[in-house]
Symmetry: C2
Subunit: 244 residues, 2 copies
DNA sequence: TCCCGGGATTTTGCATACCAAAACCTGTAT
DNA sequence: ATACAGGTTTTGGTATGCAAAATCCCGGGA
């Protein structure tokens, strides 16, 4: 074998020809595409982790998960790696995946980062929200108040996530939205146990926040969000069972 | 086949027994472990993308990359998926990977997020830096000044990344460091073309920043970092070839 | 000439099978 | 109890096959 490595085949700068013609740029109702299996597996595992079916620290064996989900090891491996990159599992070399054990310190750091990102997000949202956006915010607020009245913890957490998520989308900064999405989803995991006691205050703060955004008062929106996220953080530390 | 899906095997709450005894918590000189192949492939591809061997928009064919790197398709797939999650490539379903085409808008959004994170990072760093840390910061500053004098663009970008990265580590917030690491690495990709003109000013600002951190003046450190990152953003927009 | 359409080709996504190395577990001898 | 030796489990990687989807190519019709 004297042959050296073969060079990468030349495929041109764009690989394929670029889209052109009258349809370019249209949002387009894409044809329905079945989700890749690795994505389905990812969602399934994330759900199992969030609802504590898979307990923190538990060893996840690829073959078992594959059999359980009725797929081969490949999509399971790929899902596990993504779960690792997003902090849901730890992948120990030659040992496999373990459901991540969140420490108090880590949760605090995560809540700190979240506070920074959400605060900035509130400022941007206040700057550019339209009347339509405001209307939608009040609708989401209403969903949350209903969940609060029904004392439904799960729906409450979901509504909270929806509201925060919608605010981040208002910013028009896709990078920021995506990052907050990652952080918030993990925060949500830690947050569940304090959702109930924190609920009433939190949703009052939400109302004040929406008012500030509606008034395009960027400084006020920023300040309220900073307080709101800081209080959530404090609530986490004062939760029953927190290590003092 | 009347058998339903089998339940997940019970493996106990922790899967394995937890470490205990006198060695618990020690940092431990781990035995040398060869890097997983997927990691090697990831690094190799990231390098090829950063140095523009793989051009933005180019179609990356798994089989070709695998042959080029002398590995099978599996580690290549896994590396590509991680590259996607970090914004280096776009993975289009049933079409494969394409080197990400950064748009001006996206770069701006990224620089915006970076500004927020780095600003917060500077504040935390100023609050808790030790004398040792300060010494190290000045050393890194020195490396940058030398690269500036030598007019070595590549080393300049690297030194810049090192300095910023070290500041984020000072915060003691691992989540924040990791997030900034992700964002900064992408920023660095866009940043390279403006490193030279921005250089002299940037390193003067670095010096002022280190002084503020050394004085534990959190507000000043925050303000300087905010200005610093905002000016970098501005420099990007005023770069030669920017679409007005 | 330009557009359209159908078949050949390429590439992905996933399944299956297999293997070496590493880590783990267990039972035995000290 | 501790240490060791051998068997088992699990990962990480390779190779291969295949269906579905997307692309490409080419020839015919407007």
């Amino acid at each position: 074998m004297t042959e050296s490595v073969s060079p990468l085949p030349e495929r041109g700068p764009t690989g394929r020809r670029t889209a052109k013609g009258s349809l370019a740029g249209k949002s387009g109702n894409r044809v329905e595409r079945p989700a890749p299996l690795r994505q389905v597996v990812y969602d399934a595992l994330a759900e199992l982790i969030i609802n504590r079916t898979l307990e923190p620290g538990q060893h996840l064996v690829e073959a078992d998960l594959a059999e359980y989900l009725g797929v081969s090891r490949q999509p399971v491996r790929e899902a596990l790696q993504r779960l690792q990159s997003e902090g849901w599992v730890d992948l120990r070399p030659a040992q496999g995946a373990f459901v991540h054990l969140p420490t108090d310190e880590e949760a605090d750091q995560l809540l700190g980062v979240r506070a920074v990102l959400e605060t900035h997000s509130a400022r941007l949202a206040a700057a550019c929200a339209t009347d339509e956006d405001i209307k939608r915010l009040w609708e989401l607020q209403d969903v949350g108040m209903k969940a609060l009245a029904a004392d439904d913890s799960e729906r409450l957490v979901a509504a909270n996530a929806d509201l925060h998520s919608y605010i981040t989308e208002l910013t028009g900064n896709a990078v920021l939205s995506e990052l907050i999405g990652l952080v918030d989803r993990r925060v949500r995991w830690y947050y569940t146990p304090i959702a109930r006691p924190r609920g009433r205050d939190a949703w009052q703060e939400h109302a004040a926040l929406i008012e500030a955004i509606a008034a395009h008062n960027v400084d006020k929106a920023e300040k309220i969000m900073a307080q709101h996220t800081e209080r959530t953080r404090r609530a986490f530390h004062e939760r029953p069972g927190a290590s003092e």
